[in-house]
Structures are given as structure tokens and as C-alpha cells.
Amino acid sequence: MSNPAEPTPEPGAPAAVPPPAATSVADAVSTQTGPGTVSNPGTGEEALPVPVTIEPALPPTGTPTGPSSLEAALRAAGPGPGENWPTPADGGAPLTPMLTRRWASPRSWSINTYRQLDGYQALPAALQVEPGRLTELIKGSGLRGRGGAGFPTGLKWSFLPPASTKPSYLVINGDEGEPGTCKDIPLMMADPHSLIEGCIITSYAIKAPFCAIYIRGEAVHALRRVANAVEEAKAAGFLGKNILGSGYDLEIVVHAGAGAYICGEETALLDSLEGRRGQPRLKPPFPAVAGLYASPTVVNNVETIASVPAIVMGGSDWYRSMGTEKSPGPKIYSLSGHVTRPGQYEAPMGTTLRQLLVSAGGMLDGIPLKFFTPGGSSTPIFTPAQLDVPLSFDDVAAAGSMLGTTALMCFNETVSVPWAVWKWLEFYKHESCGKCTPCREGTGWLVQILRRIVSGAGTLEDLDTMADAATNIAGRSFCALGDAAATPILSSFKYFRSEFEDLVTGRTPPVVESRLLVGAH
């Protein structure tokens, strides 16, 4: 086992990264002040290191294939020449890069870059306290799960039975597949060590000897980067037996899925990880009591666990200085669709889409926004009337939707709502696991009706049938996938029912030629 206090940075590896003041790993380790505390290097005024020096922007290249160099990507990531870089004073989002702050550094995925930018400094401090105090820390921080449901993370950890005779397990949900969601895969590609350090600290907090990171099979490069990070962490002594002399042992397995959206549902994921069809389990018992191998298990999202090292370093008050009271911390907002500069923007919880759109250069070609999802296709759609809803768990719920994964898919006025709903329903039908009847049969019927409607063969009666079917799926399915499938129907009827009516009455032409429906999924 190599000595983690003596890193050997590769010659010249992150050369373009200005090393943050007084933050060599050796310095940081020597400033440990004993059990139960974390001392941060540098002075209180020292902000997180700015990872890059940005040169004047060049126009985006738009190269269709081939990798772009980091320098080229950095130049193309901003506004065009002479254009404004939007700040909060311009109405833009206040950006607070915590998880994304290393992403622009050279070889950001390597352990050397990670360690030069404060990486693996939370772990030695965490290993010096009783595990239960880490759970208390995360509880106090108010961190809520980033996988969509927003359940308080520390509370989830505390549900593990204190005196179980079985080992406990940590399972990471990296099965990112909710339409619109595109945050965990970039995170795992760009900064896999933040996830690994979070896994080690969390596993220690829940006394787990084994952690599995379940990554979507199609995300093969994220899989490589995480697998490589595990190897690097092992070689540095952060994994395996007697980690940093603490007496704590941990193994991490990186596990690939095989193409099933339903495996993002935590109990389906556990069945899949056990080598079965990925179908959801009846709850209770909840995974905290009987999860992986019927043992106490914590299942958390990638973004959630990658936040843990920063919370250990900064403390809960620091974490709570961002975001809202009930949804603290920063969040990676994923802007996609008809947006001038789509991408990942990390801002405090409670930032609005209006602010994020200003940061992203507005709607593409100035064509106005028609509807958007606050957190993926499973969350009820919003219209421009909700542009100022603070995107936090509670505020979005109060406005009639769900924060989900903050996957902000923005559709402009050229998009037919019935067409988008049809596309989404094709997805839910394909991904329904078949376990329960309302979802299995209901998604099939809804797709058939929607195919009729978008190809101009629908009737007004179809709309009532569809609403009836959707309300019979929602709340009557085995898991949330059924509810999610009903959501686009019900929420689009709320705001855009007239578009469906216009299609079936022939006031507007069909949006899809019927021959194109042949072979649809």
C-alpha cells in the first residue's frame, strides 16, 4: 500500500491548473487537527480554486465527430466573440460550482488532478470519527437525494438497523436514463474520484464492507473512467484492507447494467444487481432493512454521493449557505433542447429556469419557449408561466410538478405537444417491465391511441379514453414507472388539450405520416 500522504504527481499533468494556494496534499494532511474536525487549507477568504484560465471566446466549432481538445472545448463553451457573458446582474443564474469545479481541468478524471484540487482530503478526516457522526453531519446538511425523489440522505442512512447480524451494503445508482437527464454520466466521466471518495466515506458511515456502483451499460466510457478511478484509489491505499490505517476494509465493484430504464428504480436495480430481471420489489421491506442480498442497504444516486466529500470538508452550515432552507446545496441543472448554449450549469437549489436560460444565451434563434420539463419526462410539464418557479424540491411540488433530476428539456413553439407525448409514451411502453398489469397493458393502449392521434386518425372519444387509461395507471401501478407514464398525458391535457382536439378534428394536419409509424420502436 502506498502512502497517501506522499502523492507523486505526474510530471506536468495538470499544468494548466493553477494549484490552489497551500493545498498540496502533504500540507493538508499535516494540518489535520485531530479526531472530529476538518481543517481546510488556506485562509477563510480563499475560495474554491478556479480551475481554468479562459481565453477569449471563439465561435463554436460544431465539429460533428472526433474528440475536441480541452482547450478547443473551453474556447467554444462560452458566448461568441463580442457577446456578453451573463452574470447574475444580467438576470443569469448565480453559479456555485462544487461538483463541476474540476471538470475543466486537464485529465480531470485522474487521481493526480483530483488530489491537486483538494481530493481525498475529506476521507482521512472522516475515518477518524465514529461512523454515526458522519450520518449526523449529512443529516444536518439537509442533503436530499439527487436521483429524483429528494429523500433526505442522512435520514436514509440512519434507517439501517443498528444491530443487524448481516453486513450492510452501499449501492450507487448510476443507471441514468430518465429522458432529459444527463448529469451523472458527465460527472462520472469528468470527476469519477469525487464519487469514489464519497462512496468510501458513505460506506464507512454505514459500516459497509462492500459497495457496488451500478452504471448504465450504454455509458461505457463512464464505466471505464469509474473502473479506472477504483484501480487508482486502490493503488493509493484508499480502498482495500485497513484503509489509511483505520482498520476499515472496503471493496468497490463497478457493475454494468444491460439496457433497462426500470433498473433506475432502486428495488429493480437491486434485483438486477443480484442477477435477475430488473423488476421492482414490493415495499416494505425497504432496502434499508432488506436490500441487496436481503441485507440492510443504502441506495443513493451518483450526484448525491459525489456531494459527500465536499460536505465533510465544508460542513453543514457551509453547505446550507447555498440553496433553500428545505432544499440546501448546489444542484447540477441540465439544460437541453432548443437552447442557445445547452449544458450543465451548477447553481444553488431554487434557481429559476428564467435565470438559467439567461446564462445559456436564451432560446435558440429567439423562438419562444412553449413547454419544459423541470426534471425529466416523468415530471409534469411546465409552460412559460412557470419560468420563475424556484427549482427546488418543495417549490416545484407546490407549483404542481416534481423537481426530479433537474433535467430541463426546453421545447420551442415549433414542437407539437401531442407528438412529444407520443414519443415519450413509446419510451414508457418499451421500458415497462411487464410486472404489473396497469403499466404493461396501459402503456400499450396509450401508445396505440397516440399513434392514431398524431397520424390524424384519432377521435375526440380517444382523448377521453386516454385520460381514463392514464388515471387508471397512475397510482395503481407497482412502481413509479406507471405513474411516470401517465404524467405526460395528464399534464399535457392540463395545458395543451386543445392541441389534441385540433388534431383529431382535423383543424391541424397530422404531425406524423402514418407510414412513418410502421416500425416505431
Partner: protein
């Protein structure tokens, strides 16, 4: 697969004369050893089988069953559940075009139509003799979690971002000509079977495979904007105390 084989209740896997070699047996044993319970290795083992044959055959099912002490029915049930397990031989490359709402609206449907017209095949079909150089299998993909790069497609699960029908056609022409254009994000292109080996968790040159630059404009936008406008997360305090354990009631 002919319709006669699509009987309800009886998934049919093609029979081949494959004999899994010593190396595959060893790799299977190593995968199994990673897990506390052997059955957890089933998904990786099915990927391993695909790395050998390019799809899951009846002998592949039996191989997994033998390694894990599972019945053919148990393995078949899993192999038929997941989209990534192919039951007909795959081409040298697998092309997955996202046609979910967002990508489709930005050109994904047009890309899929262009490519299937060019290849003269439909969804989940192969142009060319499966496994031979330049043979291509094409499929609709559900959301590929790259929506900020829409429209996207993958070749052997490597990302080709921000595509157009023309750029996708260029890519396919190059693949058919035996070339392997670099992905926008991912390792240098290999072929479907080689990638299935990596997905199974068997990495023969991992340190090299992670190193292809994958910087992407959408991924970096927020980070770059924050740096340029000098926005940061608040400074961390010098010193942080961990909270005490809760008092026992």
C-alpha cells in the same frame, strides 16, 4: 429470427457450435469472484458471452448457467429482459440512434430515417454479413443521457454527439469502408464484441482506454461561465467540527 420462433413462453436462442475457450472460462471465474454472491455475475457473464459471439446463443445461455449453477430457464429469463442482449448476430458495429422526444425533435428521427434508408434495413437489423468487416446493426435507442448534446447516436456505445443526417451518413460510410472515426466522447472505436468485453468488466488496457480526450462543450459550459465571470461556491470555513452522536433516548 423467424416469426415461428417468437412463440409466447418459449424464448429461442440460436444454436451455434461455439466452445468457450480457456480464457473465457478464466475471465468468467474472475468476474464471479468479484461478488459476494455468484448470481450477481450473471449480467456481466451475458456481456462476456456477447464479446465472444456477438450475440447471446443457446450455448451462451448454457455457459452462464453452468458457471453460476442456474437453469437455462433462469438465464433465459434474464437474457430476454434486457435490451443490450442481442438474440441475433450483431454487425461489426452497433449503431444506436436516440429517437426519444428531445433528440428526435432536434433531428434524431431524420438521422434514423437517413441511415436506415442508406443501409436498406429496419430497426434491429443488420446490413452486411453479421460479424464481417463493415457490417452494421442499427437500432432505435431510448434516451442516451446526453440530451445536452442532442441529437446523439452511439457506435458500440461510444458517443457521437451533435449529429446531423449528413454527419451521421458520413460516419456510416466511413464505418462501412472499414474506417473507425473517433467518437466525440469515448475511447477510440473498436468493435461491438471488444466493447462488450469491457462492459463485462474485463479491461485489458484500461489506463490507455480512459485517456482519449473527452472534453465536450455542453459538459463544460457552466464551469467555464462560472470561471469567466469569477463565480464560485462560497469559501469553506477554516475549521469544521463534526456533530456529536445523537443522545440515546
Amino acid at each position: 429470427m423467424s416469426n415461428a420462433n417468437r412463440r409466447i413462453g418459449a424464448p429461442v436462442f440460436l444454436t451455434t457450435d461455439i466452445v468457450f475457450d480457456e480464457l473465457t472460462e478464466t475471465r468468467a471465474d474472475e468476474i464471479i469472484a468479484k461478488y459476494p454472491y455468484s448470481r450477481s455475475a450473471l449480467l456481466p457473464l451475458l456481456h462476456l458471452v456477447q464479446s465472444v459471439e456477438g450475440f447471446v446463443s443457446q450455448p451462451g445461455i448454457e455457459f452462464c448457467g453452468r458457471k453460476l449453477g442456474l437453469t437455462v430457464a433462469e438465464v433465459s429469463a434474464v437474457a430476454t429482459f434486457y435490451t443490450m442482449y442481442k438474440r441475433t448476430p450483431c454487425g461489426e458495429h452497433l449503431i444506436s440512434v436516440c429517437t426519444n422526444a428531445l433528440c428526435a425533435g432536434l433531428g434524431g428521427d431524420a438521422i434514423f430515417a437517413t441511415l436506415t434508408n442508406h443501409l436498406g434495413v429496419g430497426n434491429e437489423e443488420t446490413a452486411g454479413e453479421p460479424g464481417t468487416p463493415g457490417s452494421l446493426t442499427i437500432e432505435h435507442a431510448e434516451c442516451l443521457a446526453a440530451c445536452d448534446h442532442a441529437p446523439v447516436l452511439q457506435v458500440n456505445y461510444e458517443y457521437y454527439d451533435n449529429q446531423t443526417p449528413d454527419s451521421a451518413l458520413d460516419l456510416v460510410n466511413a464505418l462501412q469502408a472499414g474506417q473507425r472515426p473517433l467518437p466525440t466522447r469515448g475511447a477510440p472505436l473498436t468493435d461491438f464484441r471488444s466493447v462488450e468485453l469491457e462492459i463485462a468488466g474485463v479491461f485489458t488496457n484500461l489506463a490507455e482506454r480512459v485517456d482519449n480526450p473527452t472534453a465536450s462543450v455542453p459538459t463544460l459550459r457552466g464551469t467555464v461561465l462560472a470561471a469567466h465571470t469569477e463565480q464560485r461556491a462560497p469559501a469553506m470555513p477554516d475549521h469544521v467540527d463534526f456533530p456529536p452522536l445523537p443522545e440515546k433516548k
